[in-house]
Symmetry: C2
Subunit: 330 residues, 2 copies
């Protein structure tokens, strides 16, 4: 390759990032500086089955490429963030709670066979962490925990500058820190996991239990419309608006979240905790009480260099992080 | 270098390992296959001050070298395990709870100036972990937590085949996993740390509290001779011999230890947990109930490849691990 061609490649280098979720698939063409050149969002239609979803991914990628009128050989590769444990070396999704029927799916090879360019796949929490490290709030940070909060609580761990996977690519399950051995049952089957207190699903379960208890005691439970579909953001809003029952449960959720994060800090001594997901919009209303607990509960030796911040890539963390798997990733 | 000389060097390569403790200093000449060629153990005499202890280390090293009648240039280097947080890049001991007055001591450079060969220093928990990985029970294991139990509870983390240090070389404080937010006060100032339940110091404090409570209730507390100086091994023995008060506290200690280890497993997905320190002699009497709790409490997905074992280097883990810092260490 001539020097000129090499220069051209460096300036214009592009990668495709795919953010595969249970309800939506984000697909973007991303420049090497992290800018999104083109972005589409399509429904996953997981209920139509695995093959249908995979075809939608392929069509979405074609759509992004064609709209840019790009030749495929101008693209470094396709990065995929998948919603479940992933064998990143083999490019296989082991399973995905939000994609019924997906078991040991070699998605990376399927996509590679179609487009004949390199494909890398990672778990979505790892992808978000890598996005924040490469182009977001954690640039230059080598030891970082990127905590994704939503229905569940997961994390991507960046340790010594790299994604840390663990023996079976299952590292980062910080939602399953056991914060109270006598605590409520968690989806994992265990009791008293952080997730059972502080995730959207956990908080909802706590609310259901509390409402049932109030009813059993012949007291009037608070009115909550659409409890089944309520989001973490809505729950936090109700607590702020003075609903006492919700407020108690949210305060407990934040306390245990702070304690769980303090445990992670004591074990890993990270430089940064990045919070991503639905709660990122809460801002200081969440961050201030959370920091107060963390600063009280983590070892003082571990605090001086520590930063606790929200991610800055927002909804695009998935596609940007997936594309960024082609840059600086090892 | 000729092939013959090279062969000779490989066969005979040696390093010195120094295991600096609060009461004893172990110093050994270690062969590249992990065998100890020569070992001495001398008192630290920490009460005589820092300079005195450093001189004892130097004299000990000379003693080991002279007894082997070695020229110093036959030795790859001197590895030091230090009892406190260490800046391994600069070779500085930040502080050492068991070495009064030691603050920001550049011990690696001091020893290097004396012997004019490379010196590497690491925290003692990291050194033990590295020893078990290089020559002990964890050969070939890349993701491993080496849990050192004694007065406190610390750990060396081997992640992706390397010692993981964290931002300030403080990673591995698994004694400060918060297992019960309402729990007893810990030496770190926090409440409900694992160490407050399951370390020798924590168990003793629990015993004191229990004895005082029994006295206050006009009940007869169990007779325990020399409670101040009792070791973890003695406490476990009393529990097995049927002392009910001690038994309850020890069972709680094991339960919380299992829960803390389950938390570490969920976060890091290691392949192996290695238990070292005073408890290693307990064998299956400790390991069986501990495993039962871990297998109940950790995520089932994280268990299939997991091994939970005692270290096999025993009292020599420190000197062997310190010498091994010159081999395969990065």
């Amino acid at each position: 390759m001539s020097k000129l061609e090499n220069h051209f490649e460096t300036e214009d280098e592009l990668a495709i990032g795919v953010d595969l979720g249970g309800s939506k698939i984000g697909i973007a063409l991303v420049k090497k500086n992290g800018e999104i050149e083109k972005y589409i969002k399509i429904p996953t239609h997981a209920e139509q089955g695995q093959e249908s979803t995979i075809n939608r991914i392929k069509q979405g990628i074609y759509q992004v490429i064609e709209q840019k009128d790009l030749r495929i050989n101008k693209i470094s590769g396709i990065g995929i963030g998948a919603p479940g444990p992933v064998d990143y070396k083999e490019g296989v999704i082991h399973c995905a709670p939000n994609l019924p029927g997906w078991k040991e799916v070699p998605l990376a090879n399927i996509v590679k066979d179609e487009f004949q360019i390199p494909v890398i796949m990672e778990n979505d929490a790892n992808v978000a962490a890598w996005g924040e490290k490469t182009f977001g709030v954690a640039r230059g940070i080598d030891d970082m925990v990127c905590l994704a909060m939503g229905t569940g609580i997961g994390a991507g761990l960046i340790l010594s500058g790299k994604i840390y996977h663990g023996k079976n690519n299952l590292a980062g399950e910080i939602g399953h820190i056991i914060v109270n051995k006598e605590g409520p049952r968690c989806n994992c089957g265990n009791y008293g996991c952080l997730e059972a207190y502080s995730s959207a699903a956990g908080i909802k379960n706590r609310l259901y239990s509390k409402i049932n208890k109030l009813k059993a005691d012949n007291q009037t439970p608070p009115f909550i419309s659409d409890l089944d579909d309520i989001s973490l953001v809505q729950i936090f809003k109700m607590a702020r608006e003075g609903n006492e029952v919700v407020k108690d449960i949210v305060e407990e959720a934040i306390e245990y979240l702070g304690i769980g994060i303090a445990t992670v800090i004591n074990i890993l001594n990270p430089e940064m905790i990045v919070l991503v997901g639905g709660l990122a919009n809460e801002g200081d209303k969440l961050l201030n009480p959370l920091k107060e607990i963390i600063y009280k509960r983590a070892m003082s030796s571990h605090l001086p260099d520590l930063k606790i911040v929200f991610g800055k890539l927002g909804d695009y963390a998935g596609v940007i992080g997936a594309a960024a798997l082609f840059w600086n990733y090892v």
